[in-house]
């Protein structure tokens, strides 16, 4: 990605504005039937209105809660598991084939099964999201643990610290930058899977459900507007997490930079 500075930001703005203007003009000049596919301005307006539309907000809150819970569950499972597998090499060697068999299974394929298992839709959505979001955190944690300076571990051990203590004092902080990257990836994956499971499995609340309802009324303006908001939310979350990583792990980047 290009470096962000004043000039490139300006160019980005020009490019974006230019595209919007062209699309709007094309729509107004009759490039397509705006009864079916609304104008850019209509869609953007609708996206803005959705932010104050109570019906949408109920759905958004539901999706947000599901997403946050899914991310928490993911972290609670994948980080300890990753630490364990990263520190105990034989365990990792043993489990690796299972991981490699399970990972390619598309999480969405579980939806029809999971629907049958849970009566509570939130649980079902969380399960589906966790199954997909688990992998980046798990793999990054294992990788991060590997990356921890063995000397630091040895030093603590030689002072008589037990494995739990070593894990907490050296391995966890050492692997933290990698874990953070994994969590950031998981956050994006979880957004997609929460709305996808809402879309596929239905329910009463959730942005996916909202879009399905809008679809039955052929309301493309609402569908696209809601989709835009989900996209912007994804960008926002990603940006926040990147900023957090940069703040927290400046030392890590300095070291990585020094190594090259």
């Amino acid at each position: 990605m290009p470096k962000v500075n004043g000039a490139s930001l300006l160019r980005g703005l020009i490019g974006t504005a230019g595209l919007l203007v062209v699309l709007e003009a094309a729509g107004r000049l009759g490039a397509w039937d705006t009864e079916r596919l609304p104008l850019v301005s209509t869609v953007l307006l609708r996206a803005g209105e959705l932010l104050t539309d109570p019906e949408f907000l109920v759905s958004a809150r539901s999706s947000l809660t599901t997403w946050a819970l899914a991310l928490l569950v993911t972290i609670a499972i994948a980080v300890p598991a990753g630490l364990l597998l990263g520190m105990v090499k034989p365990a990792e060697v043993a489990v690796r084939p299972l991981i490699e068999f399970l990972r390619p299974i598309p999480s969405v394929a579980l939806i029809p099964l999971v629907i049958l298992l849970y009566s509570e839709t939130t649980h079902m959505r969380i399960t589906v999201a966790v199954y997909a979001a688990l992998w980046p955190v798990l793999i990054n944690t294992i990788y991060g643990v590997r990356d921890v300076d063995p000397l630091a571990k040895e030093t603590l051990r030689s002072f008589g610290f037990g494995p739990g203590s070593v894990a907490y004092r050296v391995v966890l902080p050492g692997a933290a930058p990698f874990i953070a990257t994994g969590i950031r990836l998981a956050a994006s994956v979880a957004i997609v899977l929460v709305v996808t499971s809402e879309l596929i499995a239905g329910g009463i609340e959730g942005i996916g459900v909202y879009i399905t309802i809008a679809q039955s009324g052929n309301r493309l303006d609402l569908m696209i507007g809601a989709t835009i908001l989900v996209g912007l939310f994804g960008i926002l979350v990603n940006a926040l997490l990147v900023a957090g990583e940069n703040r927290l792990f400046r030392w890590h980047r300095a070291r990585a930079g020094a190594a090259t």
Partner: protein, 263 residues
């Protein structure tokens, strides 16, 4: 020989898990968790009990896999070609990336499954919609990796090309693309696994053919072993595609692996 056995031994956990799973499911007798032997049996009956002339695939397998895999491969190919072309343009045309960056970042952040209903309203149910979803969803890894790879071409390689007055086409075809190929392949591989996911999504949300549709059908007829068999099938397909891709990559990029090893 020794390596082969240790390779097999590495996988001991798989049979152990299967046996445990079999025992557990037989003990609990939950309808939702049929024993793996039943799942495999179902898998076999549905798809693998066909004539030798069809590689043992049943008619039902051909009817189900055909449309799915066709869409998957077509979507992936289109996305690959488009992604490489756009990535080269973004990487080589000065300024272009800066002007388009926010729009691309935004498009990339849209969850592709949400586009399924939108495209349905626009194009109605059918292959074009599913292709559009797959292409839109899987183009990004190729695009981003191509842009990066094309930007990172060693200056020495380009200077040599300039000194010997390579044509623009030769610079692109014989220098920039091969040099970016390892990155492009990494992107293509990620895209392939995403394409499988989006194929399923597009078939689950609304379709009347393919693996996703068949999975939905099994679910609606409370055929739990059938549902599981579909999940297994998708996992196997994922593994298979990945393995095939790695073989192809190993052939095309043998210079890369070797060049790195020898440095």
């Amino acid at each position: 020989m020794r390596r082969a056995t240790s390779g097999v031994l590495r996988f001991w956990i798989v049979p152990v898990t299967l046996v445990l799973w079999e025992l557990l499911t037989r003990m609990t007798e939950s309808p939702f968790f049929p024993p793996p032997s039943r799942i495999v049996g179902q898998f076999y009956d549905m798809w693998l009990s066909g004539p030798v002339s069809q590689l043992l695939l049943t008619d039902s397998a051909l009817d189900t896999f055909g449309p799915s895999l066709g869409r998957l491969l077509a979507g992936w190919t289109i996305a690959g070609v488009l992604g490489i072309a756009l990535g080269v343009a973004l990487g080589r045309i000065r300024g272009l990336a800066e002007y388009t960056d926010p729009v691309l970042q935004f498009l990339r952040a849209l969850p592709p499954p949400l586009l399924v209903p939108i495209f349905f309203v626009l194009f109605k149910i059918g292959t074009p919609t599913q292709l559009a979803v797959i292409v839109f969803g899987v183009i990004w890894p190729v695009l981003v990796n191509t842009t990066d790879g094309v930007r990172a071409v060693d200056k020495g390689f380009l200077e040599t090309a300039r000194v010997f007055q390579f044509s623009r086409y030769d610079i692109l075809r014989r220098v920039i693309l091969p040099s970016a190929m390892p990155k492009i392949f990494a992107g293509l591989r990620l895209s392939l696994s995403l394409a499988l996911i989006l194929m399923v999504v597009s078939e689950l949300v609304g379709s009347n053919s393919g693996i996703g549709y068949s999975l939905l059908y099994a679910q609606q007829s409370y055929d739990y072993a059938g549902v599981w068999a579909h999940i297994v099938l998708l996992g196997v397909l994922g593994l298979l595609f990945n393995a095939l891709f790695l073989v192809a990559e190993g052939r095309v990029l043998s210079w890369h692996a070797n060049a790195r090893r020898n440095v």
